[in-house]
């Protein structure tokens, strides 16, 4: 053990240029895969994917990815801790449903409805955090139960029907574009990611997330408030779910009983593809953005190529597998030096 470690250090010192490039490529493998995907699709369907013929598709993908992206980054914070939040979709649906119902029944301003939605999501996330940090429930099961309960709440509210909300006062955010070109949702996506990048890399909370995920006992001994860090991560996840709830409901102009449920597994996949380790302690915001874009790009691309939706799901599974293999290669690469 100590032998291999000593080796590691020395290699870095004498590291060859090629080694460094290989390391950089493996560290950013998701962006490499994305570039590869773009090239392959450009070859398969030049009419559609050549940016000179059809730049629109490259604007569409971030738009497609926006809701999922905001959900994913909230979830990723809990994965970084070594936990997981399976209730993202449920929190999104319940917060959006409560906001939309209050908006429709009490005729409040749209912006106030947005605030309510974010508040409900944040509160639900806080409850998750409290149960997990203070009562030491297992995050996997606790959030699974929470999600089941919340899905039930949405079913009860909607009674299986679709609640439409077509007032422009509410839907402008999901359906308008800034300067007539870039959808607001894309702005929100990038805004959330920039904020989260700063939180993860440059704040005490972010550093605490990495420390707790990397070694919770050491974090505690180092004076980090582990419980508070946990609560914060789950609360942020709830907040992101609330934001995503606004985005999706205003984009779709409606809420229904299966609101957002297609995201359930995809968000975990995107986080993992983006290099977030399920063991905790490893991950970066740029990688997660790459994971979200890659997954959406492939899904859009395969649909454009005319592939059956069943195959799209299969392809998604294969990409996740590829990501996991790359992840284990990365660990081996590091162990080798």
């Amino acid at each position: 053990m100590s032998q291999a470690s000593a080796t590691n250090v020395k290699i870095e010192a004498h590291g060859l240029g090629g080694d460094r490039i290989a390391r950089a490529l493996i560290d950013n493998s998701v962006w490499v895969l994305l570039a590869l995907g773009v090239i392959i699709f450009m070859y398969l369907s030049p009419r559609f994917f050549n940016p000179f013929n059809n730049i629109q598709v490259y604007f569409n993908i971030p738009m497609q990815a926006s809701v999922m992206g905001v959900l994913t980054i909230g979830l990723a914070g809990t994965i970084l801790l070594g936990d997981i939040d399976l209730s993202c979709v449920g929190m999104m649906a319940v917060s959006a449903a409560s906001g939309v119902l209050i908006f429709k029944n009490f005729h409040i301003p749209g912006v106030l409805a947005y605030v309510i939605i974010v508040a409900v999501g944040t509160f639900l996330g806080f409850i998750n955090g409290l149960l997990i940090a203070k009562l030491k429930t297992v995050a996997l099961i606790e959030t699974l139960a929470m999600n089941t309960a919340l899905t039930g709440v949405v079913l009860a509210i909607t009674r299986g029907r679709t609640i439409t909300v077509s007032e422009p006062e509410y839907t402008w955010l999901g359906q308008s574009k800034a300067f007539g070109t870039i959808p607001y949702l894309v702005f929100i996506l990038f805004f959330v990611y920039i904020i989260m990048h700063i939180v993860w890399r440059k704040t005490a909370l972010g550093r605490s997330l990495y420390a707790v995920g990397g070694n919770a006992r050491c974090a505690r001994v180092s004076g980090i408030n582990v419980d508070r860090t946990r609560i914060a991560a789950f609360t942020i996840s709830g907040m992101c779910a609330g934001i995503a709830g606004i985005m999706l409901s205003s984009k779709m102009s409606s809420i229904n009983s299966v609101f957002g449920q297609t995201y359930g597994m995809d968000i975990i996949a995107a986080a993992v593809i983006g290099g977030t380790s399920l063991q905790g302690g490893i991950g970066k915001v740029s990688g997660i953005l790459g994971g979200v874009l890659l997954l959406n790009f492939i899904q859009v691309g395969l649909q454009v190529l005319g592939l059956d939706s069943y195959f799209v799901q299969m392809a998604t599974g294969l990409i996740i597998m590829l990501a996991v293999v790359i992840d284990s290669l990365r660990i081996r690469f590091q162990a080798r030096g």
């Binding site: 032998q3 990397g214 050491c218 974090a219």
Partner: protein
């Protein structure tokens, strides 16, 4: 008695990338001997035994065991020949009982292919008697004493047909009596013809127990020395490749009189109501077994062990310490006993590890952001001051050797500018050179007024460095005295007499 070679390594070379872990090593072990390997962390000891056991393959060279070239054989094939690598933690399952552990993979089975529990326990009992270990084979290993756990680990290897046993750091975190006890056990097995390779940092014991000693340094192996002909210092020099000066306290250091910290009738789990003081600028050595109260009072002062009664005063003011974060506010810092579990975040870079305890202290900047430049500069100066061997402060803490990892832990707590530094066995598993560097640094820091609680069961180290000694047994202080004319024997006597010896 005529010795016969059981194992020979010829011209073994192994490189990892640009590092030469073994350089043309020739090494020979005789049957029925205890052959010790000593050297610094990362010197090549582990590589050598891994090559012997078949965990890794050498780039060049051969391994001959019992007259047979085993170089091409796998780990499993070599195991079947009787070569066993017994590491510290591996291979014991704490929640299984003794019999299950030693017969793991070799379970006695009945006609239906099910495990024959009765026969398994009978056999385990016989084995225990044969090897002279008196424990209940139905107890789970978790409940055995640490030394008995180590013995079970070794017996497991012997029971499985091991006749050439490699013990990698078998005595880590054992008290010195337990170490003697374990070595005596090993010695008995050696007399029956079992051969041992022993890796350890405890030179005194190695000198006493070994038939031969081989030093490893930077991948080179140095002449086999007979166990009895060497002095401690000579061996230390060979290991380090240079003169290592053992750090000692200044004999004319004035007695500290101004108290920094006072405990009044404090109690906690395993700690009966206890009163004691720590003075400014002193190094007070705490001695005691696990469960004796020594560690418990340390973790309690740092907020990791809940205080159940009594008061803690810092400079005369009562303080309420419920979490580590509270302790840090009062300048109380703690270097934990188990650095892998509690000390470092392995997958984090060195500089971020060093910054962990000052995230909400020194590193705080505007809008809740961290001052990352400051973190980098603190890390860079600690790496220089503590002589942490690394290519970059951005390297992962995992990539460092044990001694250097411990220095990172030390850098982390020193970044908080401690007034009271609590060290919980800080030199375990660390090579001599790093150890003396760490002790020397601690000594220097007390000159600037820092106080130190030094918890250790290494009496040699304790008596070299401590200004005062506090001895714990069974949850109470049983002795508190100046470090004058003390010997390990007197400390043991006081500890076991279990009578309070008046201070001064």
């Amino acid at each position: 008695m005529e010795r016969e070679t059981i194992l020979e390594v010829r011209n073994a070379t192994k490189t990892f990338g640009a590092t030469k872990a073994l350089v043309d090593v020739n090494f020979r072990v005789e049957r029925g001997t205890i052959h010790s390997l000593v050297g610094r962390n990362g010197a090549g000891k582990s590589t050598l035994v891994n090559v012997i056991a078949g965990v890794i393959k050498a780039d060049r060279g051969i391994v001959i065991f019992d007259g047979m070239d085993v170089s091409g054989m796998s780990l499993k094939e070599r195991q079947s020949l009787g070569i066993r690598l017994v590491t510290q933690h591996a291979s014991i399952v704490p929640d299984l009982d003794v019999a299950e552990n030693i017969s793991m993979g070799l379970w006695a089975r009945n006609r239906l292919g099910m495990i024959d529990w009765k026969r398994m326990h009978e056999r385990a009992r016989e084995v225990m008697d044969e090897f002279g270990l008196d424990v209940d084979t139905r107890r789970s290993v978790r409940h055995l004493t640490p030394v008995d756990q180590r013995k079970v680990n070794i017996i497991r290897a012997l029971f499985g047909g091991g006749k050439f046993i490699i013990l990698d750091e078998p005595t880590t975190s054992l008290s010195s009596e337990d170490r003697d006890n374990l070595f005596e056990f090993v010695h008995r097995q050696a007399e029956k013809g079992i051969t041992f390779i022993l890796i350890s940092h405890y030179l005194e014991e190695i000198l006493r127990v070994s038939d031969e000693i081989t030093t490893v340094r930077d991948g080179f192996v140095f002449s086999n020395l007979k166990g009895d002909a060497n002095t401690h210092d000579k061996l230390a020099r060979i290991i380090a490749g240079e003169d290592v000066e053992l750090v000692s306290r200044d004999p004319d250091k004035p007695r500290a009189t101004e108290p920094l910290l006072e405990c009044r009738e404090v109690s906690a789990t395993f700690l009966k109501p206890t009163s004691t003081k720590v003075y400014k600028g002193e190094i007070v050595g705490y001695v005691g077994f696990p469960g004796s109260g020594a560690r418990e009072i340390c973790t309690m002062l740092y907020g990791l062990n809940k205080i159940q009664g009594g008061d803690v005063l810092v400079e005369g003011n009562p303080v309420n310490i419920r979490r580590a974060g509270d302790a840090l506010k009062y300048g109380i810092c703690y270097v934990p006993n188990d650095r892998h579990a509690d000390g470092i975040v392995g997958i984090m870079p060195i500089d971020e590890n060093i910054g962990l305890s000052i995230l909400r202290g020194k590193l705080k900047s505007f809008f809740g952001l961290l001052n990352l430049d400051k973190e980098r500069s603190i890390a860079a100066s600690s790496v220089e001051m503590l002589k942490i061997k690394t290519s970059s402060t951005r390297a992962l803490a995992n990539s460092l050797s044990g001694g250097n990892q411990q220095k990172v832990v030390l850098a982390k707590v020193l970044a908080c500018n401690p007034r009271l530094l609590i060290l919980d066995e800080p030199t375990i598993g660390i090579d001599i050179k790093s150890r003396e560097e760490i002790i020397g640094l601690i000594k220097d820091l007390t000159r600037d007024g820092m106080s130190v609680i030094y918890l250790t069961n290494d009496y040699d180290e304790l008596l070299r460095i401590a200004d005062r000694v506090v001895i714990f047994n069974d949850g109470s202080i049983v002795g508190e005295m100046e470090n004058k004319n003390l010997t390990p024997e007197t400390i043991i006597a006081i500890r076991d007499k279990n009578e309070r010896v008046a201070a001064e």
